[in-house]
């Protein structure tokens, strides 16, 4: 296992004349949870999309397990062990919970059989077990987020890319989602988390990066970043308390 699981080197992305990312370097080590925080429009989502090759990089490169991503399509990356759960959860609304889980299970050859993996998932998400034959689109936003997270559990990826898991959830569901994520983290799943909710993100991750206007302004252990409210306020444009 190389020391760095995911290494972003000087990545730049442009949408036409607009530079969304200007030379961004971050890294995720095995078993590590990393948070990228920043205000709206800081380039957080663009960063994740570029990591999954959903948008082309203008310059710089991304190494996954020491190998450059190159032009590998998003579907290849998923099979190679990088699961991207996009903003808006990425569940298929017209399909049942079981079908959604089965599709995630089929991404890569799995260690466990589907039945066993399913049992494990339902043990963590009893709510999904009750709703297994229900259409995912007919569930509440919180339940859909649970399903999105369950996708990462049924056939665990090497690295999980998460875009705003707290978005649009009630405070209670946010808590619940992070309880699950902490479980993933403690099991050693590498997680790259994009989050607007600074407080939660810094409380969850090991290390953090502060993104502003497409550039990394600060980085360090989350405990250090969290105890530096003045600098955070300056770069995020909000105070930690307000968030």
């Amino acid at each position: 296992m190389p020391e760095t699981l995911l290494q972003v080197q000087d990545l730049a992305v442009s949408y036409g004349p607009i530079q969304a990312l200007r030379g961004c370097s971050i890294e995720v080590r095995p078993r590590e949870a990393v948070a990228v925080i920043g205000a709206n429009g800081a380039g957080k989502t663009t960063l994740l999309k570029a990591l999954s090759n959903l948008v082309p990089a203008k310059s710089g490169q991304v190494l996954f397990r020491g190998e450059p991503l190159g032009t590998r399509g998003p579907h290849r990356l998923a099979r190679d062990g990088m699961l991207h759960i996009p903003e808006g959860r990425g569940v298929l609304g017209t399909m049942s919970v079981l079908e959604n889980l089965r599709l995630s299970y089929d991404i890569r050859p799995a260690k466990l059989s589907f039945a066993v993996a399913l049992e494990e998932v339902f043990a963590c998400f009893p709510r999904l077990s009750e709703r297994r034959t229900q259409k995912a689109g007919s569930m509440s936003g919180g339940e859909q987020q649970m399903l999105a997270l369950a996708r990462a559990l049924i056939n665990p990826p090497d690295v999980l890319l998460l875009d705003e898991p707290s978005l649009g959830l009630s405070p209670r569901m946010v808590k619940e989602a992070y309880r699950i994520l902490r479980m993933f983290r403690d099991r050693g799943m590498a997680i790259l988390l994009i989050e607007q909710n600074v407080h939660i993100a810094l409380g969850f991750a090991h290390r953090g990066y502060v993104l502003r206007q497409g550039q990394v302004m600060m980085q360090g252990a989350c405990s250090d970043l969290g105890s530096d409210p003045d600098i955070l306020k300056h770069y995020l444009g909000t105070s930690v308390e307000a968030a």
């Binding site: 298929l92 609304g93 017209t94 599709l103 991404i107 050859p109 799995a110």
Partner: protein, 288 residues
Amino acid sequence: MIQDYLFFTGINVLLAWSVYIILMSGSLSFANGGFMALGAYATGYLTTTYGLDLWLVIPPVALLAALFGALVSLPALRTRGVYLILVTIGISICMGVGIESSEALGGVKGMGGLVGTEPWHVFVLVGVVGLFLLIVSYTPLQRILDAVREDEYVARSLGINTTYVKVVSFGAGAALAATSGALYAHYLIFIRPEHFNVMMSLFMVLYVILGGVNNLWGAALGATIMTLAPEFIRGMAEWRPTVFGLIIILLLLVRPQGLLAFRTRTARAGTRVAKWVQGKLVPGGAAS
């Protein structure tokens, strides 16, 4: 006479399925009239000019149509929604104009002397294709197609090679449309470019939309009803398009989801029916 009705019903069911196959991966194709023309004229040219056996020429022509379909799908897949529809309409029109201006294919005068299709040939093909689609609906492939149709981006995050899935389904639909066109032409004896104009493509799509877009039965039912229903009011032949139009408006008002709208649940495909596929079939795995 009754044979004719059954024959045309069978052909239209096949054509509706050719649209349905492409729709399974999320693209609405108005190019199938063009693919049908390709099949009809390519086989017709080979059987009349070179005297080749119809059954000998259908497989290579179907393959040619599949390649053609896959080829046109590549640029078409870059465009979405209504733009893709326009692109496929354009393909249909180009096909018609191309044939009209071709001396070898008879141009606007048409091509004659096409024989060899018996109605039962079509019934057999309906059975084979229907069985194939039925089997597909019980395999993980159906779930993969459903995922691509519902949300391409999510499908990709699920490790599915959406481009590959779409190109293959376009090719398969084109091959089926071309095969139907070949059978159709060799039953009609005489064909002209306007047999395969944009209206033809439009009708095929309407069969599917009226019958229901989510399963193979909808397409078959839509094609059957829309082929046979106008025959009952044969006395007023000139009213046929009007009646057709009225049925469409009525159905879309009363049942916009189509007559048969159920979607086959594929959860079983993961646990029981296709247990043998476990670990062997990874979504889009054939591409790797």
